[in-house]
């Protein structure tokens, strides 16, 4: 009895095996264009059985004839192919058609209007390092971005002017939060610098138009900066510069990092050595400190906090307020505090969250006979939730609130003062969906609603972007949107009945990117409505009847392949713009707009010398300015602006520590640079408006710095 059972069991086991037998599977693997997928891996899931496709894409192998056979094909650059085979067959013929993998480069990417600098993404124009190494930029973010098309160089300002827009039409955002004072404190005609070091950021998106509904209160442009994550390692930095010095220390723990830094800048010794166009009484002194903290409780979550404080001041002989031909001592003192905290986390498979808050305080005191005391403060909070409803498709929803306080006391003479107090609670919400319709077509549609308590008015702006991948290397993009912004404080102080100013953007972009070469050309039309406008000397009677337009073409070519160890880009912008706003008597090209702007940036790595050198040439065509002594408005023209800057970084080892020696000089050939004239507000006894020439602070700017990083070495 017993042995029989065993026997039966054994036999049935063997029978099952023999019954299953072998099946031959053959066929062909083809890609989407019908070409043989040579070497594709063809196999049955969960078994050893399979083979590689031959040079004609054909394959043939045998496998055990199981009930369920799933044929799998893998091939680099393509999505895995899977197919359930009919059971019980001795031989089968299968044709496998592969679909290209949704790789980053094969997919459409929304690029209209935006220049990105990132190490992580592929379809970017710049690397973060480019911002630091661009000659003429002096490690200033705005300076480097000024070599991109769409910007107009306004040498006496140092700020970003985008596509015929005023500087305040470009707003800066750090980790999604609006920045109240992105530039250092300055007086008219003395160029400002960005407050934030480019080394703070791992990603920079410079949108010259058509940007996401997440960002508002900018008519022309958004500079979107994403700070670094956890510091990579513990390191101490020492910098010695011709204009001062700095110290920093970064400590890295398993899940946290903390950096503390401080710097002291003084232009005194420098201005006494190098001839200046300015008669400095007390050259710029600036001292600041910064704290950067990061904590990542797990892989998906990151808390970022940064805070800074800076005090700066200077005094100089400056054109008098009434008569600019006279020089009257002017002093400026500024204190600035900034704190920004943000947190992001992935909640489950489909949701992610970003939330942040920021505080800013800025106090400015200007003295020149008159006394001007200004305090700007803001607190804000913002939260954005993203729902990833399909692969590469996301729905973003967010809300923000900014409470701002602008308090300015102007004392012209005892008993003659003017006080401005503007309090605003700005609230906004947005929703935006970004989705793919196949790998070739990407679309983003957003809606933003905002309200300002100061204006007592709201706005709703639609935004739309499309990207169509026309070929392996080329893409067309399109963007459209409405952009609203509060009028400047200079207008609101007289009249708070004003409404939002509005710009409508239309952008068409073509981009060709192949390996290390990138070409893009973008045409745009921007229409301004509702700009603040008033009759001369009656700013309290302003209304939103101003309007204007900007249209133009921006061309960009970057090539990192043609010259060995060399890298260059060429930017050209053609701009045609006119506006009828403020006290303009009629539509006219504003003084910050130049028709042609050209930048050529070249960088070269000298391997043997461990040195990188760079040149930047810029040209801006004449800009208009108004001469009140002439009939007509804005009829005068500045001379064209030209500059050729040079920089070099020598990488070396000083006392066993990694060290960079950096030198830079602007206006190497000594081009004549002038930004027109400033005119007195009152005519003199002869009925003439006196004038003073607006020039750079010095003919050339020399800079030399030594940057030492003291950190871990390659020992074990």
């Amino acid at each position: 009895m017993l042995p029989r059972i065993i026997l039966t069991l054994l036999i049935s086991g063997c029978m099952l095996r023999s019954l299953s037998g072998q099946a031959t599977i053959s066929g062909k693997v083809l890609d989407e264009q019908g070409q043989a997928a040579v070497g594709a891996n063809v196999f049955i899931r969960g078994t050893f059985d399979g083979t590689s496709a031959a040079s004609d894409g054909s394959f043939s192998f045998s496998t055990e004839r199981l009930d369920t056979l799933i044929l799998t094909v893998t091939y680099i650059g393509y999505q895995p192919f899977e197919m359930k085979l009919p059971s019980g067959q001795d031989s089968l013929w299968v044709e496998a058609l592969l679909r290209p993998a949704a790789s980053e480069l094969a997919m459409a990417v929304i690029t209209a209007g935006a220049f990105e600098a990132s190490d992580e993404k592929k379809s970017v124009v710049l690397r973060p390092l480019d911002i630091v190494t661009t000659a003429g930029a002096t490690a200033d973010i705005a300076g480097a971005l000024n070599t991109l098309p769409g910007t107009q160089r306004v040498g006496e300002e140092g700020r970003l002017f985008v596509r015929g827009g005023d500087a305040h039409e470009t707003q800066t955002f750090i980790d999604g939060l609006w920045v109240q004072n992105p530039y250092s404190s300055s007086v008219p005609d003395l160029p400002a610098r960005g407050r934030f070091s480019p080394f703070l950021f791992k990603e920079t998106t410079f949108a010259t138009g058509g940007f996401s509904a997440e960002y508002g209160q900018a008519l022309s442009s958004a500079l979107i900066l994403e700070t670094q994550g956890l510091a990579e390692e513990s390191v101490t930095g020492v910098s010695l510069m011709s204009v001062g010095g700095g110290l920093s220390h970064t400590q890295r723990w398993e899940r946290s990092s903390l950096s503390l830094s401080g710097d002291y800048t003084t232009l005194g010794p420098y201005t006494s050595l190098v001839p200046q166009n300015i008669d400095w009484l007390k050259p710029v002194v600036s001292k600041g400190g910064q704290l950067v903290f990061r904590h990542s409780p797990d892989e998906n979550a990151l808390l970022k906090f940064q805070s800074s404080a800076r005090f700066s001041g200077f005094s100089l002989q400056y054109p008098g307020p009434e008569d600019v031909s006279s020089q009257v001592p002017l002093s400026l003192n500024n204190g600035n505090y900034y704190a920004n905290a943000s947190y992001r986390d992935i909640l489950g498979e489909k949701w992610s969250l970003k939330a942040g808050a920021a505080f800013a305080y800025d106090r400015e005191q200007i003295r020149q006979g008159f006394q001007l005391d200004r305090v700007e403060q803001s607190v804000q909070a913002k939260a954005v939730a993203s729902y990833h409803f399909a692969e590469q498709s996301v729905l973003k929803m967010g809300a923000e609130i900014v409470r701002g306080n602008f308090d300015e006391k102007y004392l012209e003479s005892p008993g003659n003062s003017f006080h401005t107090l503007l309090k605003d609670t700005y609230t906004a919400g947005f929703a935006e969906v970004e989705s793919y319709f196949g790998p070739r077509l990407a679309a983003r549609f957003g809606l933003r609603a905002a309200h300002s308590s100061l204006l007592g008015k709201g706005s709703v702006s639609p935004r739309l972007s499309l990207a169509y991948k026309a070929g392996t290397f080329s893409q067309f993009s399109l963007a459209y949107g409405h952009f609203y912004q509060k009028p400047k404080e200079e207008q609101l102080r007289y009249n708070q009945q004003l409404g939002f100013e509005r710009a409508t953007h239309y952008i068409l972009n073509y981009q060709y990117q192949r390996e290390k070469r990138l070409f893009r050309v973008e045409g745009y039309y921007k229409k301004y409505n509702g700009l603040a406008r008033y009759e001369t000397d009656a700013p309290w009677l302003s209304d939103n009847s101003g309007n204007g337009f900007s249209k133009g073409v921006d061309v960009f070519y970057r090539d990192r392949a043609s010259i060995r160890n060399g890298d260059f880009w060429i930017s050209y912008s053609l701009l045609d713009t006119e506006r009828d706003y403020l006290d303009f008597p009629h539509a006219s090209t504003p003084s910050f707009a130049s028709k042609h702007n050209l930048s050529v940036v070249y960088k070269h790595w000298l391997n043997r010398l461990n040195t990188s050198i760079g040149f930047t040439y810029t040209y801006s065509s004449p800009r208009p300015f108004n001469d009140p002594n002439k009939s007509g408005f804005n009829t005068e023209r500045t001379i064209p602006y030209q500059d050729l800057s040079f920089n070099a970084s020598y990488l070396t080892n000083l006392l066993g520590q990694f060290t960079i020696l950096y030198v830079s000089v602007s206006n190497l050939p000594g081009f004549e640079q002038s930004f027109g004239y400033r005119y007195s507000s009152q005519a003199n006894e002869e009925g003439e408006f006196t004038r003073s020439r607006v020039e750079p602070p010095a003919k050339r700017f020399f800079f030399i710095g030594l940057f030492i990083s003291i950190g871990e070495k390659f020992d074990d």
């Binding site: 196999f43 190490d119 990694f658």
Partner: protein, 223 residues
């Protein structure tokens, strides 16, 4: 009786499992022999396919995924030498995918972390200027982890030596700085060996090559 049936049924059920294990070892050792003889990209791709199939059949074993990752890195290196940088990175990505699977099976494995160090080196090739700093650090960290888990793993020292060898001297790298690491690897290559023919044992020749270059650079410096 019942006991008997149990034994029998155990026998019939475990029999295919045993054969699966034997088949695995046999197929893997054949594939390794092929990899050893592989010359040119076609043969490497063929070997990579075999490792992928073995991994597909034996999803609980780390070695097939490890070798699949390793073979893809060799393909990536071959493409890099031909100057095909775009395609090269596709293989580096594929190597990372497979190594992730190996890592999911065995997290504390010195060989896996050593290969992770190599894959991070591969990330640098795409754009040394942009990626050099970040990924050379990541590579170092992975190799340090490999050494802390397996202080006798010659490949971890060899790859670390390679890292230092190609790091510019102003960052504290260069052939001379790499010398002690390459020498340590050389010694370990001589003495170590798990005895299991399926476990990784590559790197001896390439290490020696680099070691000779480092020694030559040092003596050149002296003269």
């Amino acid at each position: 009786m019942k006991k008997m049936i149990l034994i029998v049924s155990m026998f019939t059920f475990t029999f295919p499992a045993i054969s699966q294990q034997t088949k695995y070892e046999k197929t893997l050792s054949q594939a390794l022999a092929k990899l050893e003889d592989a010359e040119g990209r076609e043969a490497l791709a063929e070997a990579a396919n075999t490792f992928e199939r073995i991994g597909n059949a034996m999803p609980g074993e780390w070695l097939p995924f490890y070798y699949h990752a390793f073979t893809n890195m060799r393909l990536a290196m071959a493409l890099m030498e031909e100057g095909q940088m775009g395609e090269c990175q596709a293989y580096v990505s594929k190597a990372q995918e497979s190594l992730d699977k190996a890592m999911a099976i065995e997290e504390e494995n010195s060989e896996i972390w050593a290969l992770q160090g190599l894959i991070f080196q591969g990330r640098i090739w795409e754009d040394p200027q942009a990626r050099g700093a970040e990924f050379s650090m990541k590579s170092h960290q992975a190799l340090d982890k490999a050494i802390s888990i397996g202080p006798e793993n010659p490949r971890a020292y060899y790859l670390k030596g390679q890292n230092v060898f190609f790091t510019p001297s102003f960052y504290g790298g260069g052939p001379e700085a790499a010398l002690p690491l390459l020498e340590k690897a050389e010694n370990l290559f001589e003495t170590s060996g798990s005895g299991n023919a399926l476990e990784p044992n590559w790197g001896r020749e390439t290490n020696r090559e680099l070691l000779n270059r480092a020694r030559a650079a040092k003596s050149e410096e002296k003269n």
